[in-house]
Subunit: 195 residues, 2 copies
């Protein structure tokens, strides 16, 4: 197991309905030393890519993306969820469906901060059905930016999101891929990945 | 001018209606080197406080709070905006009114991550009317945690939020206090503060 899988096995809590709670270290209370380690690991995996910007979506991706951006020495942008389009200036927009909250958010990125010259790394905490990543890919493509890769902390390998994005030829790296969870025993099965 | 006032004067944009746009470096695109400098500055100002946790509210406080927490070597928690209270486990909750978005959000923090033993530093990007800070103070008080201080990046000194919080005896440090803005000339007047 890598450092993240070990942490998930130690502190993650499996709940019925394939819910994995990691709110003690990843998406409510944040372990900053772990964030730094995640930042270094994505830098290692995408060391050959000449990243100019790291992009994520509010809220739980922000802290992770910040430490990834720190390793690359580039700015981080987060797409904002917005009910209205009244923001001044021009915006790239995408629709993002949330299964957890059962709604659709419009997400926006200012055109000022993303352009055809950018080579971006998209970062998020979770990948399940992939709706958030699809929205970020749409925004990057609308900007004409080159998507160098996508980095995910925890992928639910039994859901379709990761496969769909890999099928489209994107370079997607997930630090941990959970293939199965058992709410009764608390057991978590990780997909084997080359280090 | 300190480093932050200089950056605001250089890259901040004054819009009609006392709006200060800092989205190129503080709350949409994030300048990570600036985040690190902000983290170090709050560490310097609260060096005497024995902070155990840094708390903020999603979304734009998260990146800043993460770099503050890094300096103190403690975890960061962010209060989540929530329409429902269906989250499992017990939560501290507060109502936070948003003047910008003209709505009321319920914000929540899990009781697992905040308790009477905590000495917390509350961090946010902006302070205007103070509704977000009031909600975070309410949550900390509900937990019985000691509020060691509050750190704000930009305070709008011509609005009432900061005065109310200082009047209540809280230690509130704002890296920049904007006393006036002129949308016609773009001029920004900062309150003089002791370094």
């Amino acid at each position: 197991m890598n450092f993240l899988e070990e942490r998930i096995a130690k502190d993650g809590i499996v709940k019925p309905g394939n819910v994995l709670k990691v709110d003690s270290f990843l998406n409510h209370q944040m372990d900053i030393l772990l964030m730094e380690e995640i930042g270094r690991e994505f830098k290692r995996r995408f060391a050959d890519a000449n990243i100019t910007k790291v992009m994520t979506i509010e809220a739980s991706g922000i802290c992770i993306a910040a430490f990834v951006a720190r390793e690359f020495g580039v700015p981080m942008i987060f797409a904002k969820k917005s009910k209205s389009v009244n923001l001044d200036g021009e915006m790239y927009t995408a629709q993002v469906e949330s299964f957890t909250h059962k709604n659709v958010n419009q997400v926006i990125v200012s055109k000022k901060f993303l352009g055809a010259e950018d080579r971006i790394l998209i970062i998020d905490d979770f990948l399940a059905n992939g709706c958030a990543l699809q929205g970020l890919i749409a925004i990057a493509n609308a900007a004409g930016a080159k998507i160098e890769g996508l980095g995910i902390v925890i992928e639910k390998g039994f859901q379709v999101g990761g496969r769909a994005i890999r099928n489209m030829g994107y370079r997607l790296e997930s630090l941990a891929i959970v293939d199965a969870m058992d709410a009764q025993t608390g057991a978590i099965t990780f997909r084997h990945q080359e280090a």
